[in-house]
Structure formats: structure tokens, C-alpha cells
Amino acid sequence: MIRPGRDDSPDRLYTLTGGRSRSDAHDFDLVTLVVSESEATLGMQSEHAAILRMCRLPTAVVEIAADLRLPVSIVKIMLSDLLDMGRITARHPRAVPSRAELPDLPLLEQVLVGLRNL
């Protein structure tokens, strides 16, 4: 099986992202939910088109990376491009505690209710 992230030369990954090694403006989390705001168009980079197709319903960054079989950081750069072009929107995690802080009680209660209902 071909796994681009693991087996390809770094050059290929470098090309996929237009030569950048990291995203600057947008802080995508692993669990940021991405939603397409437009359809894929002809001539679009194939990975961009694939992202737009898979995000018709909200899809987490980490699921996109798994489906594209690309490292998470590469996918984040492509998502930043799509966000800049207005082709996707991003729903970032809320109530994310910073280091050594705990999430608030109402959120934890909500999680407990959800888990108990499984």
C-alpha cells in the first residue's frame, strides 16, 4: 500500500503545499471541523478537490488527513489555502483548556451525559 506521508520524498510533500512548510495564519486543530462552502472545480489541485468533496458535511482535520493519507501538518497547509480562498469554513474547538487548565463543568456534564447514553 502506498502511504504518501511515510514513503514519499519530502520533495513531493513540499510540492503539494506550494513550497511552504507550515501554515501561518490559521490555527487548525486536529479536531477542527471543516465544512465545504463550494464544489470542486475543474483544474483544481486534486487534493483540494478531494477535501471539498469529503467536507460536504463537517469533517475533522484528522479524518481528512487519514483519508488523504497525508501528514496532518501538510493537510493543515492545504486547509489554510482553501480557507483563504473562501472555499471552506472552519469550526474550531470551543472551551479548549489551555495547558494545565480544566474544561468547565457544564462541558464535562455534557460529555458524561453523552457517554452514559452510548
Binding site: 500500500m1 502511504r3 506521508g5 511515510r6 520524498s9 519530502p10 520533495d11 513540499y14 513550497g19 511552504r20 512548510s21 507550515r22 486543530d29 486536529l30 479536531v31 477542527t32 471541523l33 469529503m54 458535511l57 463537517p58 469533517t59 475533522a60 484528522v62 479524518e63 488527513a65 487519514a66 483519508d67 493519507r69 501528514p71 496532518v72 501538518s73 469550526r91 474547538p93 470551543r94 472551551a95 479548549v96 483548556p97 489551555s98 495547558r99 494545565a100 480544566l102 474544561p103 468547565d104 463543568l105 462541558l107 464535562l108 456534564e109 455534557q110 460529555v111 458524561l112 451525559v113 453523552g114 457517554l115 452514559r116 452510548l118
Partner: protein
């Protein structure tokens, strides 16, 4: 690994209203049952992905000569549970080995908490993970996956792990959905107790 990858075309998508992703990390040595636990409670078959760390992404802002840079790759599995129409909990299975911790902040900043899954036949595999979680200030519980090995008392396991008495230690069978669900509930109850204590203190 192909069998572990579910087809996006058949994977249950999230609902349109989903807008808040949460994280819990299951940490443990190779073969301790992380993916089994994730699979037991996940709405989807576990997926696998990876992250690479190059020198450039460590913060050295030099875009030249990428191909000459060394990179470290870590692979991890994950599943998810839709908790309600807006909230979705992602469960990550993370290897406990040393190089992985370089990526902890980038991958798991903002995680609710962690489960350290241990095999009592190889408790020493967990020492490093426990040390690192304490270092990162990530709240955690310890779950002992039952492999039918020799029976140790909870006290013996706590002693061997040098575990803080306030950290819950429970037994589980990662193959069982009910048991794995209990592990997650125990973690979140622990988080709630910590959060209540903090609120009372402030």
C-alpha cells in the same frame, strides 16, 4: 494496515450541526490494546494517520533546503463518538515512546484528559507516559487491561507505577464496549471532580 482504514464513502458522517470537537487520548505501549479500546466505543472503525516533525516545523523559519532536513514521523489511530448534535469526541490511541512526546503539544494541546492503558506484565512500559503526562499537566487515569496474567492487587500496581493516590486506577477489558465506556466515564468523572475542587478553591 489496509483493513484498519475505513472507506469515507461508507463511514457514518457527522451531522450537519456538529461544531465542537473534543479530544481524549489513550496512551500505552505497543500491543496494550489502545486501538481495541478505541474500536470498542467508536462510532466508526478506527482510522490511522500520522504527523511528521521536521526541523522547520519546530520553529526554525528557514524554508530553504527542506529535503535535507531530518523528519520524525509518528502514526496514531483514532475513532470518534458523537455525544450530541453539536459535540463530537475524538479518541486517539497514542504510542508512549519517547519521540512521540515531541509532538504531544502540537497534536493534543487542549485534550480533555488521558487514559494510560497498562498491561500488568509490562508495567515499566508505562512509567515514561505517566511521567510525561504529569509534566504536561494533563489529567489522567490508569486502566489495567486484563490479559489474564498474574493477579496483582491495586496497591501493588500503584506501588509499581509510583502512582499519585488521587489518580484513579481501574480494571478494564478493552474488547468490551461496556468496559471501555466505563473507562471513559471514569476519566470524565475524575476531570469533573478536579474541576469542582478547583472551582471551590477559587
Amino acid at each position: 494496515m489496509d483493513s484498519a482504514i475505513s472507506d469515507p464513502a461508507v463511514r457514518t458522517p457527522l451531522v450537519r450541526t456538529a461544531d465542537n470537537g473534543l479530544k481524549i487520548v489513550v496512551v500505552g505501549g505497543f500491543g496494550v490494546g489502545k486501538t481495541t479500546l478505541v474500536r470498542s466505543v467508536s462510532d466508526i472503525r478506527p482510522l490511522s494517520t500520522e504527523e511528521t516533525m521536521t526541523q522547520a516545523s519546530r520553529g526554525i523559519d528557514d524554508l530553504g533546503g527542506i529535503s535535507s532536513k531530518t523528519s520524525t514521523t509518528v502514526a496514531f489511530d483514532f475513532g470518534r463518538i458523537s455525544l450530541n448534535e453539536r459535540t463530537v469526541l475524538y479518541l486517539f490511541g497514542a504510542p508512549g515512546q519517547e519521540r512521540f512526546w515531541f509532538l504531544w503539544d502540537r497534536l493534543f494541546a487542549g485534550t480533555l484528559g488521558a487514559v494510560v492503558l497498562v498491561d500488568t506484565r509490562r508495567l515499566a512500559d508505562s512509567w515514561y507516559a505517566i511521567d510525561r503526562l504529569e509534566h504536561h499537566g494533563t489529567p489522567f487515569i490508569v486502566a489495567r487491561n486484563d490479559f489474564g496474567g498474574p493477579k496483582y492487587t491495586a496497591e501493588e500496581v500503584r506501588d509499581a507505577l509510583d502512582l499519585d493516590p488521587r489518580v484513579p486506577l481501574i480494571d478494564c477489558d478493552a474488547r468490551s464496549r461496556t468496559s471501555s465506556k466505563h473507562v471513559l466515564i471514569t476519566l470524565v468523572e475524575h476531570l469533573r471532580a478536579l474541576a469542582s475542587a478547583r472551582e471551590t478553591a477559587s
